[in-house]
């Protein structure tokens, strides 16, 4: 009887993998990790089109610097999306943290205090998002859409939309504009630190397990004794702090903070995470995937500039790449 499923479905060969290196296996692997395939194609294409310019060390460092904040925020966004939520307020948070942090740095001269205030802004916005979503029971899309407006408005109000110029070399060099070991841009150094921490958190910590379970099936997680509300709030707080950190890095790199900083950034970040294989429905996704996704977005933007295309073209191509990647990805 075909309506009734055979009871011995466990013989299903699904997920029993064969690791020999054949064309077919490599192909399947790339289909599962669509961002990696996209990265390879993007790099090959721009290398071919621009000669050595694209692959030069100088340009690689550029891509690294440009992608730093996307990668940092994509790491946080991975956790938020794995828990089956989304945060649209990240670009606004980035801007408010940059503004307030810079204001404190310029008025007090203390880099430490500035950074502290900036990160605190992120923490508060994240906490507010988390509480609205869990205790207020507002879908995260709406809660953070509202916060996006509120926080951007606050950011504009700090200086009545005027930029803050920062003359504090210590602040420049510790976050965005210096380098470590003589060759590694400091923003890349911070990005690596964030990547390591979030990777361990999501993959090896108790919190990580709870995030996956909450996103995979909130009801079941709750029935298992997972404090799902607390888990979701934590992901939003981490996201807020990482957005704020990104804002400080940007301000430090530009030696200035503008209230309009980062507008539209959430699209880059969400695109990177989705491209990296994280499921919008929750329960599935990795930091490494998001890293590669972010690199694809950064390489695309950079390569198109090298080839002399306008920012409009960047937007168009970025949109197409996302649609193609999702279409092409192996669906379950």
């Amino acid at each position: 009887m075909r309506k009734i499923k055979n009871d011995n479905t466990c013989d299903d060969p699904q997920d029993v993998q064969d690791y020999t290196l054949t064309v077919r296996n490599v192909w399947n692997y790339l289909r599962d990790n669509i961002a990696l395939l996209a990265l390879i194609i993007v790099v090959l294409f721009f290398t071919a089109a621009s000669g050595t310019k694209f692959l030069s060390f100088q340009n690689m460092a550029n891509i690294g610097r440009q992608s730093a904040v996307i990668i940092i925020m994509a790491s946080g966004m991975t956790m938020v999306i794995v828990s089956a939520n989304i945060d649209l307020s990240i670009a606004s948070t980035l801007s408010l943290a940059a503004m307030l942090g810079s204001l404190v740095v310029t008025t007090t001269g203390s880099t430490l205090l500035g950074v502290f205030i900036g990160l605190a802004v992120g923490l508060i916005v994240g906490l507010a998002n988390g509480l609205l979503v869990t205790k207020g029971k507002i879908p995260s899309f709406l809660a953070t859409l509202g916060m996006m407006g509120v926080v951007r408005g606050l950011s504009m109000m700090v200086t009545s939309t005027k930029p803050i110029v920062i003359y504090e070399p210590r602040f420049w060099y510790t976050l965005g504009d210096g380098s470590v070991f003589g060759f590694l841009p400091i923003s890349i150094f911070w990005t690596i630190i964030v990547l390591i921490i979030t990777f361990i958190l999501l993959k090896y910590s108790v919190l990580g397990r709870h995030i996956y379970a909450t996103g995979g099936n909130k009801e079941a997680a709750k029935f298992t004794g997972v404090k799902t509300d607390r888990t979701i709030i934590t992901t939003f707080v981490i996201m807020g702090v990482l957005s704020a950190f990104s804002g400080l890095i940007l301000a430090s790199r530009m030696h200035a903070a503008r209230p309009g900083t980062g507008e539209g950034m959430e699209m880059n970040v969400i695109a990177a995470v989705i491209l990296g294989g994280t499921s919008l429905f929750g329960g599935k996704g990795t930091i490494i995937g998001s890293l590669i996704g972010a690199l694809v977005i950064a390489a695309l933007n950079n390569g198109l500039i090298i080839l002399g295309y306008s920012t409009h073209m960047q937007m168009l191509v970025r949109g197409l790449v996302i649609i193609l990647a999702v279409l092409f990805a192996k669906d379950e």
Partner: protein
Amino acid sequence: MQNEQLLLDMRNIDMVFPGVHALKEIDFQLKRGEVHALVGENGAGKSTLMKILMGVYTSCDGDIFLEGAKVTINSPEKAHELGIGMIFQELSLVPQLNVAQNIYLGNEVSGKTGILHDRQMYENARNLMKKYNIKEYFSVYDKVGKLSRGYMQIVEVLKALSRDTKILIMDEPTASLTKEEEDTLYQIILGLKKEGVSIIYISHRLEEIFRNCNRVTVFRDGSKVETKNVNDVDMDKLIELMTGRKIEAAVHVSTIEAEDRKEPLLEVRNLVWKQRLCDVSFCLNKGEVLGITGLMGSGKSEIARALFGVEPLDSGEIYIEGEKVEIQHPWQAVEAGMALIPEDRKSQGLVLSHSVEENICLPIVSDYKNKIGLFKDKKAGFKVKEQIARLAIKTPTPKQKVKYLSGGNQQKIVVGKWLNKSPKVLILDEPTVGVDVKTKSELRTIIQGLVKDQDRGVLLFSSELNEILQLSDRVVILYRGSVIKEYTNCTSLKEDALHRAVQGLV
């Protein structure tokens, strides 16, 4: 009855599922304007027969005649066309739409251009209510989401009637209704009868059958036992027909002496929740299985959910080992030493898209962490393998996603995830529903094994009386949200006594 004409005649219906002979040459006749009850235990074949009539199952042997003409029902749409409608337990209404819009959903009153004729639709809906004598409990403009469960059921009935239904199938229509709503439904059934609509009425509550139905057909193990006029039988006779002579099949296996298990583990006092639980009290002792049973809607699932902090109670106290515990969230229940194996394993017990390993580990991740909160993968992995072996979970690897496993194996995983946690009180809500026979007996063995540990106790909520008898040391009977009977000695208990008790006869 005035018109004794045959409306539906199903002959020699035979159906085989892999491993199960679900229906064995069933003959079933329905007269015009009668209310015909189908009774039998779970899995006796009632639902299968109805699904054949509704065109859900299509590959069966036998013939179906409707008003004397042979028909082939190969899809639910075809069944609707022929005038056969079914009211499902899970209602198929859109809460955001109003009553009239729901009644005509998918069958809208419109012109050729597709523009709705709203006024006509409301007019039709009102006429429909008038025709079947449905008083003004609600207006056709009311949003369905705001109606009570019982009135929703009436809207569902109206929806079926709007399509010239000749045969209406009702599956446990009163399971989630209050007494008052029930009476309303009975009024409507009376009205339908007068209009010549035939009703097939499936219910486990036998008193309803005596109240509403003309004839009753009893099913047992896929066979039709008998069709009788309701006036010719009484409840005892019906129970006898339903259970047959198989009562000795339930062999009670409790090995613990009554004196050994006097120490209370979980005490529940005066639980009240909405209108569903009225003053429920019971006590689970160490080292025993307490069976709690009752018909659908008697309050079983509500107690399980309330104990585990899923639904906040209106009032009531819970004591574990003599100490009062406050439980508002499931995590508090877990910390208090309880574990729940929920009725709906797919939506509440498992993360289907995750692996066997991840699912089994979930309750214990917090117990296997080092100082900085990192999870000890290897140690927990060892625990997972232990459970897979102990419960004989059939999976190619611990990394297999649970959605690819069979229902029985999935249920074992839900059990396995709690065994690592060693809960003091294990709450099982319908643990063997939708599980194949072999796994069923395996699961029962596991449950019996659990209480060998004298510090633990098992609360078994089940509507399978056979299972209750086999596993429980004591049995509590629920009826309409109250405890009406407690059996302290199960060795001499017979299944037909339980059957009578769940019907409220004690």
